[in-house]
Symmetry: C2
Subunit: 255 residues, 2 copies
Amino acid sequence: MEQQNIVVIGCGNVASYFAHTFHSIGHCIVQIFHPNIEKAKALADLYQAEPVCDTDKINPHANLYIIAVKDNAIIEVVHKLPNTQGIIVHTSGSVGIDVLNKHHRKAVFYPLQSFTKKIVLSNRNFPILIESYNQDDIEYLTKLGKDLGNEVIFMNSQERSRVHLAAVFAANFTNHCIKMAYDIMIKNNHQPEMLLPLIKEIINKLNYISPQQAQTGPAVRNDYAVIEKHLQMLKGDQEIQHIYQVLTQHIQQTS
Amino acid sequence: MEQQNIVVIGCGNVASYFAHTFHSIGHCIVQIFHPNIEKAKALADLYQAEPVCDTDKINPHANLYIIAVKDNAIIEVVHKLPNTQGIIVHTSGSVGIDVLNKHHRKAVFYPLQSFTKKIVLSNRNFPILIESYNQDDIEYLTKLGKDLGNEVIFMNSQERSRVHLAAVFAANFTNHCIKMAYDIMIKNNHQPEMLLPLIKEIINKLNYISPQQAQTGPAVRNDYAVIEKHLQMLKGDQEIQHIYQVLTQHIQQTS
């Protein structure tokens, strides 16, 4: 694909990722918009883009506008964008495409990935879920995503929101279980990183078997002596104790 | 270390792992014990070991006896083992060393890892937590573990049980969150493996930042619109809905 002119709306994790990767494969980041000009400038400077803090200054002649702001801020941004012949995409898993109805060429470009600034992704071939009512725009966004090395999957807004729900369990809740584990280690003066080979192996198994088949531990073994001992050890923190109990019971009921 | 004669008690995931790895670095698996002789034979045949289903037939002249049975079965096995000059270890995270009190040379050799038969570990350098009251035996078990490529850490029974508790969060609960995510995908006719790049990235981040720093998603953003939408989507399964609610609240309270 020839060089595209791209405006990025937002300076967060998703905005930073797309600004970086689109620039890295030769597209032009025309502008970075953020209400705080310092934030806009910090990101824009990396890609020789123009920082913009006033929506009236957004260039109406770009090929693509990537809205990567908090879900509840999308609607406000949408209404302040200029009229344009370019495609306007948002990047949210749970917001429908119709929030963009004001614009002619609207689409969704949702990366099924968790980004953190300054951390280089281990792998760029995650899926991007796209949506558009226009066949030409679907083809354009497919090409755009594939050029980045991603798998591109068409999915409507309702389906996408279900995948986003699954992603909360797979990513956010998984990460929180690890956080609780780390907290127990730290509280007992052990290096939490001692758990990393174990955690990595849980993920390695998913290359071969389902998480249902991979389950081990006291819950799935119905080892009530260990479970009872663990609940005793957690009696100083009722919330963690409750989480232990709820997850243990659910493993037992569903395995 | 010169070739050691090892008796393995049990045929499960841990027993199979240690039989395999000790054999692979040149130790002799003398016997495999299991009350079901067919199970004992299936494992023993792999390492030219003798299958045994009668505790009276257990060879008393081995250097090392590895008890790798369910936690609640350890005590029964301990009392049926022959008197021996060899070291008797159990491999449990949550059972104290004192369950082995009947024996002279008792120790613990607990792998901080989750094993599944037929799945090759991605990495063998996980920690082994050892315990013994005898300095010579500590040195022996340290050498034994290091020869396998493991990190070896001395830890008493109480500390070990806390690490085991952390491991339940890090491995079993993490795996269960992934299972719930997979179930949502399957229920909606999506390939659950679509989530794998995301899951792998959650783990990749732990190489650089803490899980607290790595958290993303609606809970940590206090995005109540998305949280409410997700709870609505889960209203058909009250248990999953409750888990969503409990974990979301706990992320919000602790981040």
